[in-house]
Amino acid sequence: MLCNFALPLENRTRGEISILFVDDEETIRKSFAQELRMEHFAVTTVAGGSEAIDALKDQQYDLVITDF
């Protein structure tokens, strides 16, 4: 993922904005991830809160979209 964290978020292109999408429903996860990628965002998906926390330990994300 080519995210330039040195630049302020508002100055980056969509492809430089990393999104972690969290939802336990696979169909929702896959469909939103596909749609957001078509909008040129860099999207990673995980199925649950603990996976999300592990992902945040491994990598910096600009935005987390999560089921509540």
Partner: protein, 69 residues
């Protein structure tokens, strides 16, 4: 509701580990108290499901344009 760590715990952990990471909450309920609680715990936006991708992109764009205080 997430099956393992619930949404509030995940939100709190995210804001603790990565305070600059913006968080958008997706919720199936129209419960205003949940929305207030999410905002109190640091959520940047709240979207009720079902939502269209256009709304999600709009919320993402708004979050991206928010200046860090």
């Amino acid at each position: 509701m997430m099956p393992d760590v619930d949404g509030f715990e995940e939100l709190k952990a995210t804001k603790k580990m990565a305070p600059l990471t913006r968080v958008i909450i997706l919720s199936g309920c129209g419960d205003m108290q949940s929305e207030i609680d999410a905002l109190v715990f640091g959520a940047d936006a709240f979207i009720c499901k079902p939502c269209e991708v256009e709304e999600m992109v709009f919320r993402i764009q708004r979050c991206v344009e928010m200046k860090t205080l």
